[in-house]
Every structure is written in C-alpha cells, then in structure tokens.
Symmetry: C2
Amino acid sequence: MLIYRDRVRSEWVDNNGHLRDAFYLLLFSLATDALMDDIGLDHPATQPALAPGADANTRRGHSLFTLQCQLHFQHEVKDGAQVEVRTRILAIDAKRLHLYCSLHLAGQEQEMAACEQMQLHVDMTGPKACAFLPEVLAKVQALAAQDATWPRSPLIGKVIGLPRR
Amino acid sequence: MLIYRDRVRSEWVDNNGHLRDAFYLLLFSLATDALMDDIGLDHPATQPALAPGADANTRRGHSLFTLQCQLHFQHEVKDGAQVEVRTRILAIDAKRLHLYCSLHLAGQEQEMAACEQMQLHVDMTGPKACAFLPEVLAKVQALAAQDATWPRSPLIGKVIGLPRR
C-alpha cells in the first residue's frame, strides 16, 4: 500500500465548503502521480501549481494513462481537511495496472471515497502503449505483494444502477 | 439530451497540453450543474471562478449529490479545445437519476470520454435524501422521454478489469 498525503484546498470546494466530485478524483490522480514517482515513471503533474518541484530533466520517458475509473462518494470532505489516499495494486499484466484507492481523513480508517482505476503503461515518445520495463515491473510486483492479504473492498466491480425494489 | 458547452482551460491541462483525468470529470460535473439549472435544482458551482453569475438568492433548497460515477477515457483532449457534454437520462426513481454523459469536441460525433453517473436528490436543509418535487420530476421525465430511442452505449455497466487472454 502506498500512502499519499494532501490537504483539501479552498479552490476545490463549493459554496457549502464541501469538496466537489471532480476534486475527489484530483486527489486520487495526484496519488497515482505519487505511485508513478515510486515505481520510476514520469507523471503529468508537472503543472507548476500542482507540483512546484517537478523537473523536466528527471524525465524517464514512460508514464501511466488512465483508461477507466470508478468513483464511490461515501462522505463529504470539508475545506482544509488533511487527507490521505491509500493505493493498492489489485492486478497487473504486461502493460496495465488495476488499482484500488481509498480516501481517508488523515490517520482514520473510514473511507470517505473510493476509486478503482485501470492504468495503461505508455511510452511517451509515441505516445503508445508498451510493456513495463523489468525494473519498473519488479517494483510494481513488490508493491502488489504487500497487499496480497488485503480483504478486498465490496465496492470493487460494483456496477452503477438503481437499487432493486 | 441536454448539451453543455465549455472550453478546456489552461489550468486543467498537464505539461503535455492534455486534459488531466480529474478535469474530464470537472467538465461532466459542470454539465450536471447545467442539468440542475434546467430541471429547477440548486447546484454547487457557486464557486466564483467557475460560475461568476451564481446568485445565492435564486436558491431553491434542493440539489443532486453524486453517489457513484464511472469514467472512460477514450481520446486526449487539448488545451483550448471547444467541447460539449451531452447528457442523457437512463433511468429515474423517486429520488435518483442514472445518467450517461459523453464528451465531444464541439459538434463532433466521436466520444472523447464518457461518464456514467448515479445522482441522489437531496434536501439541502439536512442535507438529506428526499423524493423529487412533482414539478422537477415532470421536467426529468420529459428529458428522459427525449432519449427513449437512443441506442445505449456499450460502455454502460462495463466493469473495470484486465482483458482476458
């Protein structure tokens, strides 16, 4: 499990002081950037406002693109809240990662939101999909092994639909 | 079908000039605000930067909260692109809307991304879930009737998972 820590910024909340749906995903997206840092990939958060320390000279030529994601909004999160995203690797193939990420108030167990993601590994010179380099795959597999005994969330694979009567 | 038009803003794109995943959802979220305007509900886009014309005096006391959404990222969208979100109502019950929204370059048929959503109707004095008022329900049903013959997207209900070998 990888933990990404951040704080809810005032420009992410609505007039009620609650985080807007899209900015839950921004937190999950920034957490996936942190995963890319961890496993040796580049990430798109070279937006100066989001990643002041990003340096184009450290680029490694490969990144992850989000193919699909599913979000579950469980509780409201307020302006200024200290939060953390916990990212677990559910499955891996030669060029894809299936992730489950949960948002928590810092240090709390309750999930405020969850995000299941499918990420594709991309050679940025195309950009085109390609297999992970062996050293990246080894890091991904080591992370996934940490979560092998995690009891899987019942939200995984849950289809959107009206409740049955 | 309801159409929401916008332009991709520079603060939503990464160093490659492409829209970040979370800002696709922001476009879908702003389109759902437009749906709320259309059917007579309040919405959270009273963030001055996003909705300069929002006026607290026009509040109607009810809104939609996103319970769950699923995003499919099909094509890159670039800085400055004129885009539109097309929102269709798939199903309704007393207090929920099941939506399918697609993102397009203005006037183009190709989907750049899609977002399936479950929205819950909320009385903001709680906030607590409650049934739609009759006049709102009538507007929702009229919109849904427009899309009754729409051939449903194969992306609806698609579970996230690695492709089978």
